[in-house]
Amino acid sequence: MKEVYLQDISKKYGKEETIKNLTLKVNKGEMISLLGPSGCGKTTTLKIIAGLVAADQGKVFIDGLAVDHLPTQKRGAVIVFQDHRLFPHMTVGGNIEFGLRMQRVPKEIRRKKVQEMLKFVGLQDHGGKFPGEISGGQKQRVAIARGLIVSPKVLLLDEPFSNLDQRLKEEMRNFIVDIQRKLKITTILVSHDKEDSLVTSSKIGVMFDGELKQYGTPEELYETPKTLEIARFFGEVNEIPIEKIDDVWVYTVLGIFPKIRALQTIEKSSKLLLRPEALVLSKEDKEAYGDRGVDGKIMNRIYAGEKTYYEFDVKGFRGKASVMGKGLWQIGDSVRVSTSEESMIVCE
């Protein structure tokens, strides 16, 4: 069952098209993320769902109902903004209570629920503090608690992990994933960080320039991106020049590969991509790797702790491979570069 359904949404600010024909389906209880560089229309999309911005074209459905004519407060979509937007004139408890007060929930029930919610987000000792008196991570929790307490049909998180340091970021990710699993609340998260999306979401929609370029599971996006742009967004890739394609084989600078798996759909105009970790470096040892590899030369070595990147040269082609640990080679060494068609990415 789909909880949120955007049908062919477009929005222009002046002459600039912020969102172009966006169609998106989110199932009930699912957590998805919209991923893209800043200014690609992600936040505007959230605002359109919540009704803070009116779309020029298209329809928004929440829980099977068209909500385009409904004002924000009746849609049941809560946005937790990047900058928290806690009401400075209310305490933490007052902030969390706000939504219930607006619904005129009786005072006794309100207080009970606020106490429960404070406990749920681990802030039971901070209810009486003002927003200025708590830390950034705590503010984030308050902002989320304040949204959760009104039991929204859909929770919209606008860049929840930016402005946080690495440790806090991981803590926050776990917190959100945990809450989402416990409450099974339909959640749309907006982020510019691929890792945030990969770790938290069951589906990712990649947006560039106001268009939804691809929508699928994290694995699909990482392993079978539709375009070079998307592939690059999820990490470094080597673009392998194609020399020739015939009925059975694909000839590349890194060797000849059978037209199976990903390579089945390859065309002359396609791009053939390989992630650094899909390239295997070895000693020039034909026994172990057969004639699959090609000979190259190490041009540069970049040590990054858990792995080491090697830039190599094969017949004028400059590629990048990564190996676990510190690696065996130094600049100038000869090396055998091999790969397999299994890890190849073919895209437009």
Partner: protein, 276 residues
């Protein structure tokens, strides 16, 4: 060196503000203070006594003045808060022009504005009435109110309001629970400014009130013009005191209103926390 300079500046400024007040204070109890003498020669409380005599015209006009100024303040705030919000937050064609146009009453002399409106008020039967005076006082007050609220809204934006709506607050609820507390400093400064603008109006009151609506400045000005220094100073003293008092009361009332309106939850949780 710098400290000394700022210290001196502080003294000079204090003197410029306080000395005239001291003079007013002295004059309000001085019957005669001829030229070569350094100190007043004859003191009396006649001036102040006259003003505070039960049933005096001064006291009556003071009450009228305060009543008018209060209504002007409320009405003008009611007009300029939405006006300032529109100019501060929303985008619409002609905004730049309207921003300047709103300041027109500051640029065009009140005589011109008053004369024009007087004709209309006569037809509507608003001249010589307190309502008419109240309405005309709004004119010079609007530019200040709009200006202050435009700046405030430009500063605070509508982000908090968006958040309120997203959490289920209707437009009116958002206004009461979020907008008003956010712009509280603006209400304080604009409110007191409007009060004082209205409280010190002489010409417009005279023009529309036709002498029938007796406000405090209306009684005060003839004394100043006729050179009765003691009476003029006494009136001035009361005038300043009332204006100051009004400022203090407005601030107190605002504080009370907000602590009542937004702090229920806050106070509750605060108490709870202290206990545990």
């Amino acid at each position: 060196m710098e400290k000394r300079l700022s210290g001196m500046l502080f003294i000079i400024l204090s003197l410029t503000f306080i000395l005239p007040l001291v003079m007013v204070l002295i004059w309000s109890v001085t019957v005669s203070w001829p030229f070569p003498e350094i100190i007043p020669q004859e003191l009396s409380l006649r001036g102040l006594r006259e003003i505070f005599k039960p049933g005096s015209r001064a006291l009556e006009s003071l009450i009228t003045s305060i009543r008018i100024s209060l209504f002007v303040m409320i009405l003008t705030l009611g007009i300029t808060i939405p006006g300032g919000k529109a100019l501060g937050i929303y985008q619409f064609p002609g905004k730049g022009f309207i921003k300047i146009f709103v300041l027109a009453p500051l640029i065009v002399s009140p005589v011109a504005v008053g004369m024009g409106i007087q004709g209309t008020f006569i037809r509507m039967g608003l001249t010589n009435t307190e309502l008419g005076v109240t309405l005309i006082h709004i004119v010079p007050a609007i530019p200040y109110g709009v200006r202050i609220f435009t700046n405030i809204f430009e500063l605070v934006g509508d982000e908090m309001e968006e958040q309120g709506k997203v959490l289920g607050a209707g437009s009116f609820q958002t206004f009461i629970h979020i907008t008003l507390p956010t712009i509280r400093p603006g209400i304080l400064s604009a409110g007191s400014m409007i009060f004082i603008i209205s409280f010190s109006q002489y010409f417009l009151t005279f023009l529309i009130g036709g002498g029938r609506v007796q406000t405090f400045p209306l009684l005060m000005v003839p004394y100043i013009q006729s050179g009765d220094r003691m009476m003029a100073a006494s009136y001035s003293l009361v005038f300043i005191a009332v204006a100051l008092l009004a400022l203090l009361i407005i601030e107190k009332m605002l504080r009370l209103y907000y602590s009542k309106n937004s702090g229920i939850a806050g106070v509750f949780y605060r108490r709870k926390q202290v206990k545990s």
